[in-house]
Symmetry: C2
Subunit: 301 residues, 2 copies
Amino acid sequence: MSLLVTGSIGIDTVKTPFGMSESCIGGSAVHFSMSASFFTSVRFLGVVGDDCPFDLADVFKDREVILDGLEVRKGSKTFRWSGSYEGEMNEAKTDSVDLNVLAEDPPTVPESYKDSEYVFLANTAPSLQIQLLEQISSPTFVAADTMNLWITTEVDALKDLLDRIDMLVLNEGEAKLLTGQHNLMTATQDIIAMGPDVVIVKKGEYGSMMCNKDGDCFILPAFPTAVVIDATGAGDSFAGAMMGYLAQANKVDVTSLRSAIAYGTVASSFTIGDFSIHGIKAVDKADVEERLDTLRKATQF
Amino acid sequence: MSLLVTGSIGIDTVKTPFGMSESCIGGSAVHFSMSASFFTSVRFLGVVGDDCPFDLADVFKDREVILDGLEVRKGSKTFRWSGSYEGEMNEAKTDSVDLNVLAEDPPTVPESYKDSEYVFLANTAPSLQIQLLEQISSPTFVAADTMNLWITTEVDALKDLLDRIDMLVLNEGEAKLLTGQHNLMTATQDIIAMGPDVVIVKKGEYGSMMCNKDGDCFILPAFPTAVVIDATGAGDSFAGAMMGYLAQANKVDVTSLRSAIAYGTVASSFTIGDFSIHGIKAVDKADVEERLDTLRKATQF
């Protein structure tokens, strides 16, 4: 089934204990698409300025990523982000951010994307996420990501969004902030009461948790790896493989969601294994399957 | 097979967001034995002062806990600990500690315990753990717990201990402190190089991880529960069920270790469900099996 992602394309500069990567490609839609395209063709929607140094067609060479929704906006500048990690890789410190084109109007959804069935709204202002979603005629399954900033500054729009989507993906701190709960089981139940049928909480190096409105619960540790070079994009890579798998399977039952989360876990383990998209770009579907098997063996009793 | 535990018996006062429990029974050997006795008879070794308000025979009523090694020392005072938890339940803040009898000579291992096959040395000074271990004639499998304090103040004795035991159980922060590593996979490999064949890292609400000298790795999330009243004793309860299972199975291969860790995870989820030992005391083996089944369902894909 068709899968649409809308999100950012960024020029990232990242410092970690393992080195520095200057002006490399990043952004939620990019990391998402690198992983999702292991499973299905991805309809990519995003905007860059005419200063963008990256050729997205080249970035996604050999991956099934449709770029009809990529807008290169004249006179605008591409989104830039600089961040650093110290010691623990769970959270980046943002050193600087230039929203640039992301602070302007969002890209328009092309006609050829309007019948998209699976939709992922990567993190941006919830009012924009709604605006983009309204351009899709009748999606089958809509998932969104969000962040602290919108919980603090646009909680009404966020709650409006939650009422319109099937699944929310957010990190642990965000889930606690949104609900005021310390316990994640309670927090996810509170979020489900706000609208989405499924909530997925990302816990960084501790893995992820899925709860749904029927009371099902799935918890999966992160893939065990000593190779953690740059955690940037891990969450989007996770979401990409997850949504890619669901769109390919065209099922969102509990069994499919579990497999989707496991694939997301594996994809993000490749993403964090190197700077930018180098880790995930260097592997193929067979590598993903092999690591999935290792993850299964490492978690079963 | 026979299982010996040596550890503390304490008079605990605990404050959590859910209330306060004053002068209740606690201590590593107590929490350990409550869980271990679901699986096998436990040889209990510990010392209290003659002020101890608890009748251990009553505490362990209906549980197979042998108290031949319980010493009530005249003129001494029982160990007391006061701690509190705020919001997150991962770590207690120690408000006060009176070592009392724990600062004196350790109890003597009775003749009837000297042939113990499975031995758990709960957290205390590593020099004392060695002294106790030397009194056991030829144990089959020895596991020990430790803590930050000994890593900082008695690291040589701790390394001597690591050379004599089969398995070390410690928490995440301790594993990182002991090795200077941020990555847990690397940290566990470094600890294995110090002596033990198996290392188990406890991650609180994020579950636990086991690595062994053959490169096997097992990661299990904590039991998903919204009922977390008092985390005191969780780690000892975890170790108790784990060692109890291994002693009963009389096997320490990877499959047995995985099952043992799963039982430990379940036992600790009961312990944290109420203050002191009330949570684990209120359940029976059937409850443990039921929750194990739930945990398996919540983690498999």
